[in-house]
Assembly symmetry: C2
Homo-oligomer: 356 residues x 2
């Protein structure tokens, strides 16, 4: 079965769900163009999530994907306290930006159970989980006649997800922006480039493989199909779209950066994620002190990041980005999808004629 048949979509292009960067307009634009739009719902409370889904449905009658974080990702040792060096650094930052006292650490995402109930109730066609997936969630989603996918960053993770019954696995290469989906073992051993990861996962599993990480245009799309992927998932490639509405500062920093500025760091959220290195990441990493667990670490910089974006200070905000950064294009998402489809068709025709 093709991905197009599996998800009832026209083109094998999935938009990566991006908390903090997406919008219902982006989801709808991608889905209306025949791809699979997606929304990152992890921070949404159940009723807000329901309203969000209904807003998407007002803008498109096509299938779309809503992403949650596996509940396992929200389990942490409650006894871990903010380090003294981190506290002093954060207090310095607050003084520098004229902010009040530090917030109390709190969990920012989930609870996934309540969120999932809304998605099932609203019959969201494709539900994806990051940081692994629970067997009973897979059963629940399938019992409702919906599809479920999740990300693997290693061959082992892909085999685990297949055994759990997901409909397709996203092979998330090391190039990908945002949080590493790694849920088994050390993330540093799970930074496998897309070009190497995809064919090895394709050979290991029987379910369709969706390639992700560093795919920015028709060249990347056709390359991933050549590697055996049934589809691609693209995130950073949509960050220049007007529908994305990322903070202007984030976009301008992306436009003036090379892939060398991206780094995989846990300093921002407590879990490893790829984004643009800035002062916050560098100074937090250099403390050489255990971080708060995810997402408590993330919660400590909420006021700081908000204020920094307001005043145009790039030292503090989260600016997730993949390594394909210089290939960013600033055109509407629907147009982008249509161009990728046309260009991919042309490129694959040209490739048939080349001499190896």
């Amino acid at each position: 079965m093709t991905i197009q048949q599996l998800f009832d979509i026209q083109h094998a292009i999935l938009q990566a769900p991006m908390v903090g960067a997406g919008s219902t307009d982006l989801v709808a634009a991608v889905s209306n163009a025949g791809g699979l739009g997606a929304t990152g719902a992890a921070p949404m409370k159940p009723e807000g999530l329901r309203a969000h889904i209904r807003e998407i449905r007002e803008k498109t009658d096509q299938p779309f994907n809503v992403n949650l974080f596996s509940p396992a990702s929200e389990m942490y040792d409650q006894s871990v306290k903010l380090g003294t060096k981190a506290k002093a650094l954060l207090e310095d930052y607050h003084r520098e930006l004229g902010l009040a006292e530090l917030p109390e650490p709190r969990a920012l995402f989930g609870p996934a159970e309540a969120q999932l109930d809304v998605l099932i109730d609203e019959k969201v066609p494709v539900i994806s989980f990051h940081f692994g997936v629970e067997a009973d969630h897979v059963h629940k989603i399938h019992a409702a006649g919906l599809k479920v996918i999740s990300s693997a960053t290693t061959i082992d993770e892909a085999l685990t997800l297949e055994a759990l019954g997901v409909d397709a696995v996203i092979a998330q290469g090391a190039e990908a922006g945002g949080h590493r989906g790694t849920f088994l073992g050390d993330y540093r051993q799970a930074l496998i480039g897309t070009l190497a990861l995809v064919p090895q996962i394709v050979d290991a599993v029987k379910i369709p493989v969706i390639a992700a990480g560093g795919i920015m245009d028709a060249r990347g799309i056709v390359a991933c199909r050549s590697l055996g992927a049934a589809a691609v998932q693209m995130g950073t490639a949509f960050l220049g779209c007007p529908e994305t509405r990322i903070p202007p500062l984030w976009l301008s920093e992306l436009k003036r950066s090379t892939p060398s500025r991206t780094t995989v760091t846990s300093a921002m959220s407590g879990k490893p994620a790829r984004g643009l290195r800035n002062r916050y990441i560098s100074e937090m990493e250099s403390l050489d002190e255990p971080l708060l667990p995810y997402s408590l670490q993330y919660s400590m910089s909420v006021p700081l990041r908000k204020k920094a974006l307001e005043i145009g200070n790039a030292d503090f905000p989260t600016m997730w980005s993949g390594q394909g950064i210089q290939l960013l294009r600033e055109i509407p998402a629907g147009e982008l999808v249509s161009q990728w489809v046309a260009e991919s068709g042309q490129l694959s025709t040209e490739l048939a004629g080349i001499a190896i």
Copy 2:
């Protein structure tokens, strides 16, 4: 101009030069099959190198590539001493394997000037440099009517190499096995996945781009051509060939490992390189002490690595490997090249028909 025209070869497949893994049989097998065979000559003394080249020429009349390390890579601070913790650890290892006293640190490679003179004298058709290239070497090689190529791990490095006048640039993605070619800045900012690196370098330079890193079969070859590469360079993909004659222990460890076991470490040689993690790497890294500069660090484990290979102990040897490890095939190199060419033709024809 195509790579085939540039190097006067039939197929746009380059074998990566691999110190410690190659052989004149491998070079000849690849070149005789229409690809560009290569030898890693950095450790060879001038007269040995001349004999080696003549041996290759007895086995093939086709073009081939000889690789040297840039002389800049051999410049180091002579005052840096072996750390006390490293010394104690190495002494423990020597006792464990019943070896004599530690060797004195020494440079293992070059001198590139004398090596290059031999290559030019012997009219080696393609000369490649790792760790950057010197402007006067490029001039010398071109004055002799020969070709010169070098590796870039970032867009900046590719632009630098182009400005220096190389005939083609190898875009070495983070998946690649062996030494990172990084010569500008911190290697950790130059671990860019092949899928993201290749199209960005293709867009940045006017010279042909050769993709390297994680390419193991026709899927990887066609993928890289789709990304805009004029050719591919494959190293790990040849490690299972009988002509390669790597130590049996290295091969058996490769066959039982996943990409997660590969790591980029400076602990082995003093410069970052990707290989299979073993006890030596883990314990040397955990000392948290400055290493000797390249290649002095490498020289300290020469007796240890030799002995370990003899007795089949995988704790100590160098076992470079890229991340495509599970796609290794154990067939003769010439057959491998012919299969890749045939399969690439078939795959690119199939791709022309797929619906994106």
